[in-house]
């Protein structure tokens, strides 16, 4: 029926998710949940607020990560 198909993966198994976290550190003066970014002219500005998604996951599953403890897939 579909024997001619060819399944090719280009990057699974490599560092596909290597960019998950870039390690930004909140800048103290930005306030809770806000993160500083350096603009092109070198100034540090409080650009965005982070952490506004994910709270319900912890509400239902606590803070444990890993299989069966808290994930959004089903």
């Amino acid at each position: 029926m579909k024997r001619s198909r060819r399944v090719v993966l280009t990057m699974m198994g490599s560092a596909a998710a290597g960019a998950v976290s870039l390690g930004f550190v909140p800048y103290g003066d930005c306030g809770a949940g806000r993160i500083a970014v350096r603009s092109q002219d070198g100034r540090i500005t409080c650009r965005a607020t982070y952490g506004g998604f994910g709270g319900t996951l912890h509400h239902f599953h606590g803070h444990g990560h890993g299989h069966g403890h808290g994930h959004g897939g089903g």
Binding site: A16, H67, G73
Partner: protein, 385 residues
Amino acid sequence: MQRIACSERDDWRETAEACGFDFHTIDGERYWDERAYYAFTLDEIEQKIEAPTGEIDAMCLELVGRAIRDEDYLKRLKIPETFWSLIAESWERDERSLYGRLDLSFDGNGPAKLLEYNADTPTSIFESAVFQWTWLEQAMERRIIPKAADQYNSIHERLIATWNELGRGRHLHLTGTTGSEEDLGTLAYLEDTAIQAGLTTTIIDIEDIGWRDEGGFVDLTGRDIELVFKLYPYEWMFRDAFGVRLKDAPTRWIEPPWKAVLSNKGILPLLWEMFPGHPNLLPAYFEDDPRARELGVSYVRKPLYSREGANVELVSKGVAFAEQQGPYGAEGFVRQALAPLRSFSQQFAIVGSWLVDHTPCGVSIREDASPITGNNSRFLPHAIL
């Protein structure tokens, strides 16, 4: 439909790990299990699974169309009013779906019956699309299964084709709970298919999404999130602090917000109301509907929102004989007629029927000693003989 015991490839773990399938074993127990496979006839696949899957999906789309026009549906589904316009606008803009999975009770004899629709955040896509196909090819080659075997599976190529139409040349963010090996594996696989379709990509944890002061979602580098695949359910997004921002952002979400209607188990009674007696539906009612009594003393009780079988309870002759604990149920429950999964060698098997861009294109089988399919239910491959 048969369950056929067979020998496993002695190198399957290495093969799995080489292609990034790291969650083949969960908590020390097999998740991927190839000590047996499920065999179907071509007629079973085409007439009893593929065709009904397309029909059920069409009924679901008709239901969404009605729900958008009649707020009573959204009230019954307990979707917060704040998000009705977000859902309606995504439907009216005809925002396309990437994929979904129907869970069916099917025993090879009568018609397949819809148990639920994983419309929003289905997982097990990698093992369905890729690893069971690898198994088929190697199992034929090593004479574990007949050389003329086949598989109902065009998921991978349809994902690439759909990404191509959704966003070729664009940048795609993929987000979810990256601390979960299974969810990260799912994101990595979908990322791979998107890259093959010509998109550039960034994976980002759901908690690392930011809100720019001028308006709009951004990643950790401050880059605007314009097109994003999410493996995080809408009902959680709606409760999160950023939920209220969803309608103010130009971000295009995949799955689109209208899928929030279909990922709710309240669609089971609504479909039964719209299409009573349909051979692929089971009688179902909201628990507070007096008609629920028509089911008698044997039924399945499911929360409107739940994942991986949590808070599902099977009741026979008034007595609960199987239940799974969990944190869900605050929004209410539905009751569905009891359609016990067929037991093969003391294992209960559920058929997951995949759709990509609304085209039925593959199946996956999960089995468990419990009649409730849960997070740790094993995945077995299938073949057409």
